[in-house]
Amino acid sequence: MTNEELKTKIAELLPQASFDESGQWLTINVAPAEWKPLAVKLKQDTSLYFDFLFCVTCIDWKTHLTMVYHLDSTKFRHNIVIKSIIDVANPAIETVSDIWQTANFHEREVYEMFGVNFINHPDLRLLILPDGWEGKNPMLKDFEDPVNMIKL
């Protein structure tokens, strides 16, 4: 499907979504609350069939956090990017690990690195950081580690 077709199709599914075509792939901005219902449709819709979630990450913009989901369809080979702006004070978004199992690990990584709380995640524990990690989430921009120098 071309970007135009994708746009019309997704607009049907979620009228309030906004689109951005400046990047490599069609980018869809959704509110955190709208993301989970949309995700279910994206996976289940036979003409979209986004079954391959190949990248989940988060960007710290200091004022807010942006969750970024890269989706691919192994059947139609079209890609989209979903972005969802979440509050920096109380970062939370619903998990999609029941739709794409790969999200389980990726969301755990985002959880410990950015402190995003994934609602209904089956196993939201620290994956990379040592058990009992206290302190800021390391990938946030204002994280300072006096022991292990990161900045030069």
């Binding site: 079954d51 391959f52 190949f54 890269h70 794409w100 199992q101």
Partner: protein, 371 residues
């Protein structure tokens, strides 16, 4: 004595495999729950070699950050560097000279063979056969020698720069690659004699570690792991970069969905890489090996994503630029991370000895998972 430590009420035993364990090939820590010899649960604990490369890259310039990525998947460091260089070139819209493109692809494929060779030896060693490991290293060493001569290093080459490659190929490069191809072709039959055809090996591999194609996609598995389940996911074919769309090679697909299928994909992939090298080695175009670039690279504001096919699967670089000399945020989508997440799923219900074989067929490189 034994009851006191790590035993659950229903007689299951919890065993820590790793961080120091011969089968994890690194510092992977798996907490496995077993009942007798049967695995009930596998729970990976990561982070023993986490260096926060993504954070480090945020303070490095677009020329500098490429070298760090060699330290992630050190067995396909070249391909990681390639992905980063491609992503920066995509942002800057640099046209890479065709000579550089051919050299890059040649190096990629040599790296892929070297990585698969090492995997093949380690895989056999996981199953208790020590000899193939050394036989695999014989061929791998000759690739490393070629790399050393042209790139100046054996493992973490840092040969890619935005716009091309750092140095031109060494004058001996073509002869040595041809010698390697001859060596490889004379020795590859031994792999089948020693391991592939062996009845013990086949029985250890066939039918274990079943990963259906739906699960492979859902777990985000890529590379030979997914292709062993019949999922077409070769980025070189699907989203061709460099000159891959002009080359003749097959995407290897196996439909067995088990460990043996994943094994066969890798073994057959080596032959395809040889095929690519044979097409290119006599046809390296003349010209520059590097495009003219500015001394200080500044990516325009925006987001850039580049997918490449490493030896382990799809490697993605996601650069978020604010227009400065350093990236605002970099995300590396490493294939091992997603492949590892499928381990629990495929290992449940199988024997402890099979866990080792499954980990072998997933071809885990721990720095790639931890980053």
């Amino acid at each position: 004595m034994v009851e006191e430590i790590g035993t659950t009420t229903d007689g299951d035993i919890i065993i820590n495999v790793g961080p120091q364990h011969p089968a994890t090939h690194g510092v992977l820590h798996l907490v496995i729950t077993i009942n007798g010899e049967t695995i009930k649960k596998v729970e990976p604990h990561l982070g023993f070699i986490h260096r926060s490369i993504e954070k480090m890259c945020e303070s490095l310039s677009y020329r500098q950050f490429i070298y760090v990525t060699s330290r992630m998947d050190y067995l396909s460091s070249h391909i990681n560097n390639h992905a980063c260089a491609l992503c920066v070139e995509k942002g800057l819209q640099i046209e890479v000279p065709s000579r550089a493109q051919v050299i890059r692809v040649l190096m990629d494929e040599l790296t892929r063979i070297a990585s698969h060779e090492l995997w093949w030896g380690a895989m056999a060693m996981d199953l208790g056969a020590f000899t193939p490991f050394f036989h695999a290293f014989r061929e791998r060493e000759s690739i490393n020698d070629i790399m050393e001569e042209t790139c100046g290093a054996r493992l973490t080459m840092n040969y890619m720069v935005p716009g091309g490659v750092m140095q031109d190929i060494h004058p001996n490069f073509q002869t040595r690659v041809k010698n390697f191809i001859t060596l490889y072709k004379s020795k590859v039959g031994e792999y089948n004699e020693l391991v592939t055809g062996n009845i013990i090996f086949q029985n250890r591999m066939k039918g274990i570690g079943y990963l259906s194609s739906e699960d492979a996609i859902s777990f985000g598995c890529t590379g030979p792991t997914a292709r062993g389940s019949g999922v077409s996911c070769d980025t070189r074919k699907l989203y061709p970069y460099e000159i891959y769309n002009q080359l003749q090679f097959d995407e290897i697909l196996e439909t067995g969905c088990d460990s043996f299928a994943r094994y066969m994909v890798r073994v057959r992939e080596m032959n395809q890489s040889i095929r690519i090298i044979e097409q290119l080695i006599d046809n390296i175009p003349e010209g520059d090996f590097q495009a003219k670039t500015k001394a200080v690279l500044k990516l325009p504001k925006g987001e850039f994503y580049q997918r490449v096919e490493t030896a382990r699967g799809e490697f993605g670089v996601y650069i978020v630029s604010e227009g400065g000399t350093t990236p605002y945020r970099i995300k590396f989508r490493s294939p091992g991370f997603s492949n590892l997440s499928a381990l629990d799923h495929i290992a449940r219900g199988s024997k402890l000895g099979d866990l080792v074989a499954m980990m072998g067929t997933l071809d885990l490189v721990i720095p790639d998972i931890d980053r």
